[in-house]
Symmetry: C2
Subunit: 389 residues, 2 copies
C-alpha cells in the first residue's frame, strides 16, 4: 500500500514512479492530477492526449436525464459524481487558471409529437419515482423558459441539476492542473502493460483498455455535429435540450461562444466514418426541436468511439489477477460526468488500498474470470506488495 506522502523526492527523474496512468483523456488526467496533488510521483502515457472519446463528447452532466430503466447502480454513481462537479469545476478552474465552460442553467427534456411525449413521460415518471428532481412543464412554461423551441413541441420537463461542461476546455485544464501538481506526461503509446514500470498502473485508455487488459471493453460509435450561431453571437437558447423528435433521440448543448453541439448516434460499430444518413437524422431532429438551427453554420461532423462494457457501466478497480493494475475505463456515454468521482475514488484506492463501497458494483471481475489479464502479459516481476491486503 502506498502511503499518503511518498518518501522519495518527487523531482527525482530516475526514481520509479508511484503511479503510471495509461491514457490522457479526462479520466486519466483527473486521476493523475488527484494522485500528484497528494504527493505521488505520477507519469501519464499518451501519444495524443485528449484525442479519444472526450474530443467528440458533448459534455452533458446529466445523471437525472440519463437515469434509465434498469441502470440503478449506474444512476447512483452518476448522481454521486454529478454532486461533486460544482466543487471539482471550481477547484480545477483555480488549479489550471482556465475556464472550463461549466454551466448550470439546467436541462430541458422535451417531446416533439404526442408519441414522443408519451415515451418521454414514462421515463420522467421513473426518474421522479427515484426521487430525482424532474419538474414537468406545461407548454407555456416550457416556452417561457426557452422561447426558441419549435411551437409544435408538445411538452417537456425541467431537470435543474443536470449541468454541462465543455470537454475541449476540460481536457487542457486537467492537463495543466496535473502538470502543475507534478505529473509528467510521456507522449508515447503503451502497447502492453509491461511497457510501463510503476508501483501502480492505472489503465484509463478508453477503448484501448481492451487490448491492454483483456477487459470486455468495446467501441460504441457516436456521430456528433457542431454548429455555430451566425455572426458570432451566443445561441438563441441557454438550456441543454434533450428531446425525442419523431422517435429520434437528440440533444443540443449551447456554449457561450456560439457553439451548439448536436448529438449523437449510438451505434454498435467501430469505424469512425460520418454517414449521410446519421447527419441528416441529427439535423432533422435538431431542427424540428429548434427551428433556428437551420440558419446555423455546420462547422464539424465527426464520429468517436465510446468505451462500452457488457452492462454499459464503467470498470473501476484492480484487474482480477493483477492487483497492481487498476482499471478506470468503460465509461461509455458517461465519461465526463464520471470524471470527478472516478478520479477521487481511484486516487483513494491507490493511496489507501481499500476500495470505496461505491466501487463495488463496478469491479473488473464482474463479467467472469477469463477475460481479464488475457492480454496483460502476467504479473509484473517488480510488484512490491498486495495493494488489497
Amino acid at each position: 500500500m502506498l502511503t499518503g506522502r511518498s518518501p522519495s523526492p518527487p523531482s527525482s527523474d530516475q526514481v520509479r514512479p508511484d503511479v503510471a496512468v495509461v491514457g490522457a483523456g479526462p479520466i486519466g488526467l483527473a486521476i493523475a492530477w488527484r494522485c500528484a496533488a497528494r504527493g505521488l510521483r505520477v507519469v501519464v502515457h499518451d501519444p495524443a492526449p485528449g484525442s479519444g472519446a472526450s474530443a467528440v463528447a458533448a459534455g452533458m452532466l446529466s445523471p437525472v436525464a440519463e437515469a434509465y430503466f434498469g441502470e440503478r447502480q449506474l444512476t447512483g454513481l452518476l448522481l454521486a459524481s454529478a454532486a461533486r462537479w460544482p466543487a471539482f469545476a471550481a477547484e480545477l478552474a483555480e488549479a489550471a487558471g482556465a475556464d472550463i465552460g461549466y454551466r448550470t442553467e439546467g436541462t430541458l427534456m422535451v417531446g416533439l409529437t404526442g408519441d414522443d411525449l408519451a415515451e418521454a413521460r414514462r421515463l420522467w415518471a421513473y426518474q421522479q419515482g427515484l426521487g430525482l428532481p424532474v419538474t414537468p412543464l406545461r407548454p407555456s412554461e416550457l416556452r417561457d423558459r426557452e422561447p426558441a423551441l419549435a411551437p409544435r413541441v408538445r411538452g417537456g420537463a425541467f431537470a435543474p441539476t443536470d449541468h454541462q461542461v465543455d470537454p475541449r476546455l476540460l481536457v487542457p485544464a486537467l492537463r495543466t492542473a496535473a502538470q502543475r501538481a507534478g505529473a509528467v506526461l510521456v507522449p508515447q503509446p503503451v502497447r502492453m502493460l509491461s511497457d510501463v514500470d510503476a508501483v501502480v498502473t492505472v489503465v484509463a485508455a478508453g477503448c484501448g483498455a481492451a487490448a491492454l487488459t483483456g477487459l470486455p471493453v468495446r467501441p460504441v460509435k457516436g456521430q456528433i455535429l457542431r454548429l455555430r450561431a451566425p455572426d458570432g453571437v451566443a445561441p438563441g437558447f441557454r438550456h441543454v435540450i434533450r428531446g425525442y423528435a419523431d422517435g429520434e433521440h437528440v440533444y443540443l448543448v449551447p456554449r457561450a461562444d456560439g457553439e451548439v453541439v448536436l448529438g449523437a448516434t449510438v451505434e454498435e460499430r467501430s469505424d469512425t466514418t460520418v454517414t449521410a444518413g446519421a447527419v441528416q437524422r441529427l439535423l432533422r431532429a435538431g431542427g424540428d426541436l429548434l427551428p433556428e438551427l437551420a440558419e446555423y453554420d455546420l462547422v464539424e461532423a465527426v464520429a468517436g468511439l465510446r468505451p462500452g462494457t457488457p452492462d454499459n457501466a464503467p470498470i473501476l478497480g484492480p484487474l482480477p489477477d493483477r492487483p497492481d493494475v487498476l482499471a478506470a475505463t468503460g465509461h461509455h456515454r458517461h465519461g465526463i460526468v464520471l470524471t470527478p468521482i472516478t478520479a477521487d475514488l481511484i486516487a483513494d484506492l491507490v493511496l489507501g488500498g481499500v476500495p470505496d463501497p461505491l466501487l463495488a458494483p463496478f469491479r473488473a471481475d464482474r463479467f467472469g474470470g477469463a477475460a481479464a489479464v488475457a492480454a496483460s502479459g502476467g504479473p509484473e516481476p517488480t510488484l512490491e506488495g498486495d495493494l488489497w491486503s
Copy 2:
C-alpha cells in the same frame, strides 16, 4: 491585332506578354492553353489556381437538362460548348497525360412525387420543343436504367447527351496543358488591371471580375456535399441523376472512385458558410431519390461562389472602353460546360480581333454603359492598337 504566330521568341523572359490571363480557374487556364498552343506568349496570374467556383463545382455537362424557360440564347451557347466537349476532353487528356473523369453515361431526370413529376414534365416538354434529346421513361424503364432509385420515384426522362467531368481533375490537367504549351503561371494576385502588362488582358477571375472591371458580376452562393460509397467501391448508380424531391431540386453525380457529388443550393448571398438547414435539405432530397446514400460517408460540405450576371449568362468579350481587355466571366452555374467554347472563342478573338457571331448575345456592354471600366483605372497608356478595328 495579334498575328497567328508571335514574332518574339516565346522563351524570352523580358518580353512583354501577348496575353495576360487573370484567373487560373478552368476558364482562364483553358484560354491560356489555347492561346499558348497557338504561339502566343501567355502569362496567367492567380495566387491560388483552381480555388474558386470550380473547386466546388459538380462538373455536369448538362445543356439539355439545364435548358430553362427564358434562356434560349444561353441554351444555344451551352449546346454549342457541350458539342465541343468530347474532342476537348480527348485533346486535353492527351496534352496533359491525365484522366479528367469525362463520362458519357448520360443524365436521368426524375420526379419524386406526383407534384415533382408534373413540374419536371413541363420542363421536359419545353426541352423537347426545342428539339433536344429528352426521352420520357416509364417507371419500369427508369428502374431498368438505374435500379438504385427509390421505389417511390414517380417518373423520369433520359438526356443521353448530358455528360460529366470531374472539375478537380480538370483544373490540374488544364494547368499542365497550359504550362506544357508555354504559358507561365504567376502565383500573385492582381488587384487592379494596371498590375498586369500585356498586349491583351483576359479577365477570367470569376467573382473577382467585378472589382477588376466594374462589370455587374455578383457572387451566387452554392452549398454542395461530397459523399463516398462505403468500402471504396463505386457508387451503386452510374448516371448523373437530377431530380425534384418534394420541391427540392438536387443532383447526384457519381464518380468512378466512389465519390458522389450532391448539390446544390443557389443562394443570393456572398458568404461561404455551410448551414445546417441546407445540408439537411440536400441530404434529405438526395436520400429520398437514392436511399442507399444514407449509408455513404459524408466527406465534405462546402460552399462556393458562382459568378452571376444580371441575366445569368456569361460576359464574353472586350470591355466597352477597354478594347484590349477581354472579359471571360459570369459563367454562373455553367463554367465547366462552357469552358471549351469560351476558350476557343476568346483565343480566336485574341488572335483574329473579330468576335465570333456566337458571342454577340454575351457582350460586356449589354447591361448599359456606366458599369464597365468603373474600377479598371482607365485605358492602359501602353495600349498598342485597337484590337477591334
